[in-house]
């Protein structure tokens, strides 16, 4: 059994224009084991799984993948081929049709037929068979949208297993689950293992890795760093494998002298707008000073974006807590109120939430600020142009003219348009959610310089980033979030990568819990 290898990666390299997503990755996965893969955002985990599941077919990458000792040749219909070979994947974002029943979802596209018509009895009987075999507690005829996230995940798993999967890949399966649902998932994984199914478990939650996996592969910057049995890791060693890189001079230096506290959030609590039984923010407290950059670190699903969207009045309903801005209590219930109070938000999804792509740079910049240039009726076109021109020049937006539509701009210039539009509203607090995502290095540097300048001019900046280096490189203090609450706020001098990762993965709070017990 020791050498019963079901999957082997041999020198796999995957390049995208300008980026090497996977760099010479080699490791083996043994049959019947639960194999964990962990690493920071962007380490290459998802790319690796997309090769396995056929999203990237054979000739789009270098190196080879051996499945049961044979080269995995996935061609034109790669995704279906991977499925028929017994490789199934459960994605982080669920891919069910909410308006169909559990059984319909499990057999979607493969409905059993009886003389050309769907054999509903067989479909539901087969679904029940699979659900019972793996002790998945879901009624086959229930409508998917009526289920909670945890049960939906079970349906995803059942769907994968119905195709007779030998290898089941779970990509961040617990990011949306409650503690009890996670426990249930762990039980299911154990029962799969007993049935001889190999699981690849991708996560950055260390606790789960130690709880369930037999082996762990750590990835970083597209490379495989180490693969060894779980028992040979400690939490500390795992963290250092994950983050172990040096900081380079990526960030412009700045001398800042933060002033008085301008924005303060105390014990903020809010409920998930889609599921009022679940707390999305479970006690967040922090403060920001004038001229300071506060970084918010945390893993995917820790509630960072939810926090800033809620502060901006556009996400969850606040049930408890206090928000103070410029000495006044505020509780915005719409973006307009937040803007008027002095907040600005550069949102996470530039194209989806930040810009109106089919409109001109000018119209995008002035949109939230039209009240500055207009009475009830007329927009003063001259004043609008003047103000937008000043903004676009000071941010060096490169475009033929302000009349150019923003969809024609590069990512970096688009982001500058978003920032321009929010600076024009003269905010006291500027919130930036992943401001450098998907833009090139040069544009990143310009945005960092701009942030420094703004801070020097007394703007308080709150920055979220999925890039931990960026948080540590730019912030004066770092607040770490974990599972919807703020754990600790560290001065940047004390915020080492290890320390932040430990707080973000919730290790320390688990230790506290253990001590309390």
């Amino acid at each position: 059994m020791e050498n019963d290898i079901i999957l082997e990666f041999k020198n796999v390299t995957k390049r995208f224009p300008g980026v090497v997503a996977l760099n010479d990755v080699s490791f083996k996965i043994r049959r019947g084991e639960i194999h964990g893969i962990c690493g920071e955002n962007g380490a290459g985990k998802s790319t690796l799984m997309k090769i396995l599941s056929g999203v990237y077919p054979k000739n789009t990458y270098e190196g080879s993948v051996l499945y049961n000792g044979e080269e995995l040749m996935l061609g034109e219909q790669a995704i279906q081929e991977a499925g028929s070979k017994g490789i199934a994947i459960v994605y982080q974002e669920l891919t069910l049709v909410p308006t169909m029943s559990v059984g319909e979802n499990v057999y979607l596209g493969r409905e059993p037929l009886e003389r050309g018509a769907i054999d509903w009895n067989k479909l539901y009987a087969d679904t029940r068979g699979i659900l019972e075999k793996y002790q998945l507690d879901v009624p086959p005829q229930a409508m998917v949208k009526s289920l909670g996230v945890g049960k939906m995940q079970m349906v995803e798993i059942a769907k994968a297993l119905s195709e007779d999967a030998k290898v089941l890949i779970l990509d961040e399966p617990t990011s949306a689950l409650s503690e009890a649902e996670i426990d249930k998932l762990m039980d299911i994984l154990k029962s799969l293992k007993n049935n001889g199914i190999t699981c690849i478990y991708i996560t950055h939650k260390l606790e789960e890795l130690f709880r369930i996996t037999d082996k762990i592969t750590v990835m970083r910057d597209g490379k495989e760093i180490v693969t060894k049995p779980t028992v040979e890791f400690t939490q500390e060693s795992l963290v250092s494998y994950m983050v172990g890189r040096e900081m380079k001079e990526r960030f412009p230096k700045a001398k800042r002298s933060p002033g008085e506290v301008i924005f303060k959030v105390e014990n903020l609590k809010a409920l998930d707008p889609n599921d009022a039984s679940r707390g999305i923010l479970n006690g967040v407290s922090f403060e920001v000073r004038k001229g300071e950059i506060l970084g918010i670190a945390g893993l995917m699903g820790a509630g960072r974006t939810e926090l800033v969207m809620t502060l901006f009045g556009e996400y969850a309903r606040i049930v408890d807590g206090k928000i103070t801005l410029n000495g006044k209590d505020i509780r915005p219930t719409s973006a307009r109120q937040a803007i008027n109070a002095g907040l600005s938000l550069v949102p996470e999804d530039r194209k989806g939430m930040g810009l109106i792509l089919i409109q001109s740079i000018l119209k995008n910049i002035s949109l939230p600020n039209l009240d500055q240039f207009s009475g009830f009726f007329r927009i003063d076109a001259d004043a609008e142009l003047k103000a937008s021109l000043i903004q676009s020049k000071s941010l060096t937006i490169k475009a033929p003219s302000l009349e150019s539509t923003v969809e024609t701009l590069s990512g970096g210039n688009q982001q500058k348009v978003v920032i321009s539009k929010w600076l024009l509203s003269k905010p006291s607090v500027l919130i930036m959610d992943d401001p450098t995502r998907g833009i090139d290095v040069g544009a990143k540097y310009e945005i960092y310089k701009l942030m420094n300048e703004l801070a020097e001019n007394g703007v308080a900046i709150i920055m979220i980033s999925s890039d931990l280096e960026e948080v540590l490189g730019m912030s004066d203090r770092v607040m770490v979030m974990c599972r919807g609450h703020s754990t600790e706020t560290l001065p940047v001098a004390e915020a080492t990568v290890e320390r932040v990762m430990t707080l973000a993965t919730g290790v320390s709070s688990d230790e506290k819990l253990m001590k309390a017990n």
Binding site: F312, E314, S334, A335, R336, A338, I339, N340, L345, P347, D349, G352, M353, G354, L355, I356, L357, I358, Q359, K363, S366, L367, P368, L370, D371, S374, F377, R378, I379, A381, D382, L385, K386, L389, P400, S401, E403, K421
Partner: protein, 400 residues
């Protein structure tokens, strides 16, 4: 930016003209289509199609649809639809007739002017209130506009039957009839035409002035002069043409004023800007602090108000309110918007375009009627033109 200006100057007048034409190909496609349609009918009717009496009728015929289309543009721009406008205009026309024939006739028998004015006020109120009702359900109770306004259409149908009790009601009091049947005296027609032309040139120079002040590239002055001159020429020909019959019709004048106000509203006010932002990207608009429900509500109220205007013109023009009033007008209005370049996906569309679209539809109808084409084939030809126009638009967009 100065450098681009200079290179353009070097390339010369013709190539810049070509560039401008290419850039606005969509606008010109629809204009060319209109001219083509007129040309065809001119020859097939032996010239009577463009005779002054017919041109006069053509513009009056488009007017009711055009009032509806002017509001419909904004409704579609924010990603909605309004299927009730035809029947709403019909209902308003019936209400106007009812007040004329039954209420004012009894209480104000000797005051036709006051009666007409009160009729107008009541009609506009009915339109706006019905728009407000639908707008409230769509914006705040979040029922899709397609459903709400389809229901609205049915409801209005019922209301029309209730008010008319199945009979035709006359609406032909002196002052009220003049709203849509009257003409502007020839001298005043010329004055209005010249004022409009002066305004066109003034706004062109004004816009150049403002662009120069901020260092933007200016188009070749001759191109601007050519474009404005062309528009001025059309106004002159129109005024000359209708004046040789009876003059500019009141409803056309009213339509021109409404269209100008709507164009201004769409381009120069926060209200207009917010509407296009909502259609362009709802999420970004929301995060920019735009009150989407309020905007949606307001636009449906405006739509209702304009349906009211359309209803008054309809009642005044035909001289009575009938149970069939306004049937199918909503689809003509929607088609006008689409022909004029309004995107069904929202975010894009102009009032000007919709006006030309309405003119095309009216031109087709009147032309085919004059040629005595059987109704069946009228429908077939209108269908072909509608789909071809949108097809051409899709084709040019892909190329551009």
């Amino acid at each position: 930016m100065d450098t681009t200006n200079q290179t353009l100057k070097k390339e010369g007048f013709l190539s810049e003209l070509y560039g401008v034409l290419r850039l606005n190909i969509q606008t010109y496609t629809i204009l060319l289509a209109l001219i083509g349609i007129w040309g065809i009918f001119f020859f097939t009717t032996g010239g009577t199609y463009l005779a002054s009496q017919n041109v006069s009728n053509l513009f009056r015929q488009m007017s009711v649809t055009a009032f509806l289309a002017a509001g419909m543009v904004l409704v579609i721009v924010i990603g909605g639809i309004d299927l009730s406008v035809g029947k709403l205009a019909g209902f308003v026309s019936v209400v106007a007739a009812y007040f004329q024939a039954h209420i004012w006739f009894e209480y104000l028998p000797d005051q036709p002017l006051l009666a007409a004015a009160l009729t107008v006020v009541v009609s506009l109120l009915v339109g706006a209130l019905f728009g407000a009702l639908q707008g409230y359900i769509i914006a705040y109770l979040r029922v899709p506009s397609f459903i709400v306004t389809l229901g609205g259409q049915w409801l209005l149908n019922g209301l029309i039957l209730l008010v008319t009790a199945g009979k035709t009601i006359p609406a032909n009091q002196p002052w009220f009839s003049d709203i849509a049947q009257g003409y502007v005296p020839a001298t005043w027609g010329w004055v209005l035409g010249l004022v409009a032309i002066a305004f066109l040139f003034w706004s062109m120079f004004n816009s150049r002035q403002s662009k120069r002040k901020h260092g933007f590239a200016l188009r070749n002055i001759y191109i601007d002069l050519l474009a404005t001159g062309f528009a001025a020429l059309i106004i002159l020909i129109y005024v000359y043409n209708v004046n040789s019959y009876k003059g500019i019709q009141n409803p056309v004048l009213l339509l021109a004023a409404t269209a100008m106000i709507m164009i201004y509203l769409a381009n120069n006010t926060r209200f207009g800007r917010y509407a296009y932002a909502i259609g362009g990207n709802r999420e970004a608009a929301r995060l920019s602090g735009i009150n989407i429900p309020w905007m949606t509500f307001s636009i449906f109220v405006l739509m209702g108000f304009l349906s009211g205007v359309g209803g008054i013109v309809l009642a005044s023009y035909v001289g009575y309110g009938t149970i069939a009033a306004g049937a199918g007008y909503e689809l003509d209005a929607i088609a006008s918007c689409i022909l004029g370049g309004t995107s069904t996906l929202g975010g894009i569309g102009t009032i000007q375009g919709a006006m030309i679209g309405a003119l095309i539809i009216a031109s087709l109808s009147t032309g085919l009627q004059m040629m005595n084409v059987a109704p069946a084939w009228q429908y077939v030809l209108k269908a072909i033109v509608l789909v071809l126009a949108v097809l051409a638009d899709v084709y040019f967009k892909k190329k551009g």
